[in-house]
């Protein structure tokens, strides 16, 4: 039901903005609303485009249907975040067991990090999207611009993983799954794999997403693209 509606919206947006000139915001651009953005389909399993074609103008608010996955150990925020990003509308890959992510990351496949979980698997890490057949773009310890947040969530139809570096040591990864614009105020809505056993959902001000009184920004993982086999 949702896809036909979205398709109609995209077509309408395309008609309404026909002739408008669009450009992709460069990384780190100021938080100005993006002009129309031109996109090419990345192609879906079903043959239908998984991301929006042609001109893409993000609306004021958008929320992807990405269920919150709690981290299953005290050190697996990155594994839960991987699971959530992959579960998004694009690329829509189901990772049935979270332990599959650290198993692949630590090279202990198949299921080497599954129950009983060895202590060597309970460690921090980074999302191994390549192990699931996708390349990605990574920021150098900087946040996505507001334009990039909207572009990624709406135009690419993708959730993204981001990292907060705690000022007092350590770091934590979460998933951006939506955004809300309210006048001049901007909010990034986030699936947090904490607390263990449930996870939960927040909307942070964009400034808080970038940095806060107890954290600064680490790496973001976004723009997944299917690896092409040669």
């Amino acid at each position: 039901m949702r896809r036909p509606l979205r398709t109609v919206c995209v077509v309408l947006a395309g008609i309404l903005t026909w002739g408008c000139e669009g450009s992709k915001q460069p990384p780190g651009a100021p938080n100005t609303p993006p002009a129309a953005v031109f996109y090419q389909s990345q192609g879906g399993v079903s043959g239908l485009p998984e991301t929006r074609d042609a001109v893409c103008t993000p609306p004021d608010k958008w929320q992807l249907n990405v269920p919150v996955k709690p981290q299953e150990t005290g050190a697996w925020c990155w594994a839960a975040s991987t699971q959530m990003v992959l579960a998004g509308p694009f690329p829509n890959v189901t990772v049935k067991q979270q332990c599959d992510v650290p198993s692949r990351y630590f090279g202990l496949t198949p299921r080497g990090c599954c129950a009983p979980i060895p202590a060597t698997c309970v460690q921090g890490g980074w999302p191994p999207f390549d192990k699931y057949g996708y390349t990605w773009t990574e920021t150098p310890n900087t946040a996505l611009s507001w334009a990039e947040v909207k572009e990624n969530l709406f135009c690419r139809n993708q959730a993204f993983a981001f990292t907060w570096l705690w000022d007092v040591g350590g770091s934590h990864m979460m998933v951006g799954s939506g955004y809300v614009t309210d006048g001049a105020d901007q909010f990034v809505c986030v699936n947090n794999p904490l607390p263990m056993g449930s996870g939960q959902f927040y909307c942070h001000s964009y400034n808080e997403y970038v940095s806060g009184t107890n954290h600064r920004h680490g790496k973001d993982f976004y723009n997944l693209v299917k690896l092409v086999k040669k």
Binding site: G74, A75, W126, D182, F201, C203, S205, T213, N214
Partner: protein, 225 residues
């Protein structure tokens, strides 16, 4: 003029609290200051929260219906000021140390968001150089954990009433409700320990807890966890 005096007072308290090591009296002062000065910002943040909630996110933000947000109110009677424990200082902690020396912060405060007197969600305010402002909205699970722990915690008839606050060990994803009597800091876990060292709701000596967590902190690296 009053605004100027207020700003100076806030700035003075902020400078003192952000300067580092916390002691019991300074924690009390930081809590009292945060509670008083963040209250107007909490009301403003509630208005912001109402504008964030929509048909796509109301459930995930803790509300049973879209209409709930209209009657939701911040609970200004029981906010929780958050202090945090640094990983590097925790690594050096040993049994018999002074747990107060590990506490930093006091520049974030959590307000429960109530609907029909029940905790549904929360608002987090942070203090920067311009004062208190709303930064995060939602977190229905921790909201219920924090204020359930607070409801179940002992409330002895003391004057002034016992102050409860949050102690967060961010690097180890571990949160506690905390209180102190004289120079003894106690912690109440809001969740069971995954390593079965404590149960949620138990009153524990911070000295004992920090000595155990110091071992974990020594093993923890900078990678996301």
């Amino acid at each position: 003029m009053r605004t100027l005096v207020l700003c100076c007072a806030v700035a003075a308290v902020a400078a003192r609290n952000l300067s580092g090591v916390q002691q019991p009296q300074r924690i009390d002062d930081a809590i009292d200051s945060a509670v008083v000065y963040s209250k107007p910002a909490a009301q403003a943040a509630m208005d912001t929260f109402r504008r964030i909630v929509n048909g796509q996110n109301y459930k995930a933000l803790g509300f049973a219906s879209l209409g709930d947000i209209q009657s939701a109110t911040p609970d200004t009677t029981r906010p929780l000021v958050a202090f945090h424990v640094g990983r590097d200082s925790l690594r050096k902690y040993h049994r018999g140390g002074d747990p107060f020396t590990l506490l930093r912060g006091g520049d974030r405060i959590f307000y429960a968001v109530l609907v029909k007197k029940r905790t549904r969600s929360s608002i987090i305010l942070a203090r920067d150089t311009t004062g208190w402002k709303g930064v995060s909205y939602g977190g229905p699970v921790t909201a219920k954990l924090y204020w359930t722990a607070l409801s179940r915690a002992p409330h002895p008839l003391t004057t002034p009433p016992r102050r409860y606050y949050l102690v967060q060990v961010l690097a180890l994803n571990t949160d506690f409700l905390a209180f102190h009597e004289d120079t003894v800091l106690s912690l109440i876990p809001v969740l069971d320990d995954p390593q079965y060292r404590w149960r949620a709701g138990a009153s524990l000596l911070a000295d004992w807890v920090f000595a155990l967590l110091a071992v974990d902190a020594r093993a923890a690296d900078d990678l996301p966890r």
